[in-house]
Amino acid sequence: MQQAIPYKSWPLPCIDATSHRARSTTTLGHNGRGKDVLNIVSENAVIVLARKGCCMSHVVRRLLLTLGVNPAVHEIDEEDEAGVLNELGTICKGTENNKMVQLPAVFIGGRLFGGLDKVMATHISGDLIPVLKDAGALWL
């Protein structure tokens, strides 16, 4: 039986004292501060980071929904975008070849999976569902 993970609303921003990555900017907005992004990413099996009002994120979401996954969607304001991408860049050093993260970005199992391109390609080759299952986003 397939069970979709419910959309998770992440908590109010809080300062992470233990983080060694000191953030110079801590803009008080509704969404997308660097540290929180990391938390959010690690807390969700599947999450889509996207700009506000981005239609491509809508595409990703619809596709994942068709597969039975209800992804968390985290919208980033324009002003926060640079900071968030920077933050993501540091955690992705190991996985990607130092490319700047493109939005919308899909994280599966706490790790950067890729953009819409990657999701589409993986889906067509039939490998997306196994990946989702591994991450615990899908049950058979």
Binding site: C55, V60, M120, A121, H123, I124, S125, G126
Partner: protein, 426 residues
């Protein structure tokens, strides 16, 4: 000679012979007046009831000025006249009508046999020879009949060749018209773009589109060549290794098209999405600026039999994945439409200035480029996956089927353009 003082009219009839010679007609001289180039026709009347075939040429020269009948040069086939005129003479006398015509039967003699087809400027003196000729020997008649048949056959062959040439020219003309139509459409389209747009920008757009048009024309030609090569190769049963090379270049050719489209989409995304660069039938099936991957699979799969169980399963999965991806993209595009629509419509209508709304909408439209790229990406991935599932030979057949399908769609468009016009209502 009886009719020399009267104005004469020339009726020259020509009846094409079919196989064998049959009784054609006995015309009443003076009653049938032909027009224009029919004047260059020659008639034969044949009386097969008699033991010897009788052929008479009736040539009546049309010449207001000259009192004498003249043999009008015309394209005569080589009809060998066997003359006998006695019968005609009587007809003449009966039908003599001073107002319209006076006909004169001219006896054409055996000299015609040696004349060329187009020149015959011999002046044939009208004869008073109305006596019945002695019947020619049968074999001579047969020979002449055979020559007539031969001449008729040659005429038919010439006519056939001429018609063939006409058909070829016609097809070429249609192609040119289509190109012209496409260029005009693009011109109109560009006219819409240029209206009030920045000169610099439109210059870039123009050259981007022009470059694409040229490249695409070449692409189609290469595509056609590749299809023919594939067909030949498959029929010739060449080795898998060689076939693989053809398959790779075929796939690469499609990828090349996606690259071209990506470039021109940056210049003008509406150009790509509108599909104006394609033929009308292709445009009918267009989805985000190209073919729909799931449609492609529907076209391909029947051509690929036999497939193994495993392959059938994989193709099934691919069909489903394609459909899901397409739906996701389509829904995303709908969302974009809603967004642009609400942006453009937003703000107080009472205000004269709408620049902010339109400017914002412009930004959102940039997303269209992503949609075109994603759609092409999906097409590419689908083709790649198919090539993974299939054997080399199957992949070759698949590429052939795909190429042939688009080729036929283009032919359909051409045919459509040349359909006969609707009959106008009275």
């Amino acid at each position: 000679m009886p009719f020399s003082n009267l104005p004469l009219l020339v009726y020259i009839y020509q009846i094409w012979e079919e196989e064998g010679i049959e009784a054609i007609e006995t015309w009443n001289v003076g009653e049938q007046e032909l027009e224009g180039d029919e004047e260059s026709k020659l008639s034969i009347a044949l009386d097969i009831n008699s033991t010897c075939a009788k052929v008479a040429f009736v040539i009546i020269s049309k010449s207001m000025n000259s009192p004498t009948p003249q043999f009008v040069p015309s394209r005569l086939s080589i009809y060998e006249p066997i003359h006998q005129i006695g019968i005609w003479g009587e007809n003449f006398k009966r039908n003599g009508n001073p107002n319209t015509s006076t006909s004169l039967i001219v006896e054409v003699d055996n000299k015609l046999e040696n004349e060329s087809e187009t020149t015959s400027h011999e002046m044939l003196a009208p004869t008073n020879n109305y006596e019945q000729e002695a019947s020619k020997p049968i074999d001579k008649i047969q020979r002449r009949l055979a020559q007539n048949r031969e001449a008729a056959r040659k005429s038919r062959l010439r006519k056939k060749a001429y018609v063939q040439q006409l058909e070829n020219s016609r097809l070429k003309l249609i192609q040119l018209e289509q190109e012209l139509q496409r260029a005009t459409q693009q011109g109109l389209y560009m006219g819409g773009v240029l209206e009030g747009s920045h000169i610099g920008f439109s210059g870039t757009v123009n050259s981007g589109i022009a470059a694409f048009e040229m490249e695409y024309g070449r692409w189609v030609d290469v595509q056609h060549r590749q299809i023919c090569e594939l067909r030949t190769a498959l029929n010739a049963h060449i080795s898998d290794i060689e076939l693989r090379i053809l398959v790779k270049s075929g796939m690469g050719h499609y990828f090349e098209l996606f690259r071209m489209k990506s470039t021109v989409a940056k210049a003008d995304v509406f150009y790509v999405i509108s599909g104006v660069w394609k033929t009308s039938a292709e445009r009918f099936f267009s989805w985000i600026g190209g073919f729909r991957p799931s449609e492609l699979l529907k076209v391909l799969v029947p051509q690929l039999d036999p497939l193994t169980e495993q392959q059938i399963l994989e193709v099934c999965n691919l069909k489903q994945s394609c459909q899901q991806a397409e739906d996701a993209l389509s829904q995303g595009l709908e969302k974009l439409q809603e967004t642009v629509s609400s942006t453009v419509a937003g703000g107080p209508v009472a205000e004269v200035s709408y620049i902010p709304q339109v400017a914002t909408a412009m930004e959102k439209l940039e997303a269209l480029v992503s949609f075109v790229n994603q759609a092409d990406h999906l097409r590419q991935e689908t083709l790649q996956q198919m090539s993974r599932i299939l054997t080399t030979r199957q992949a070759a057949r698949g590429l052939l089927a795909l190429g042939e399908y688009f080729h036929r769609l283009r032919a359909l468009s051409t045919l459509w353009v040349t359909r006969p016009p609707e009959p106008s209502l009275p």
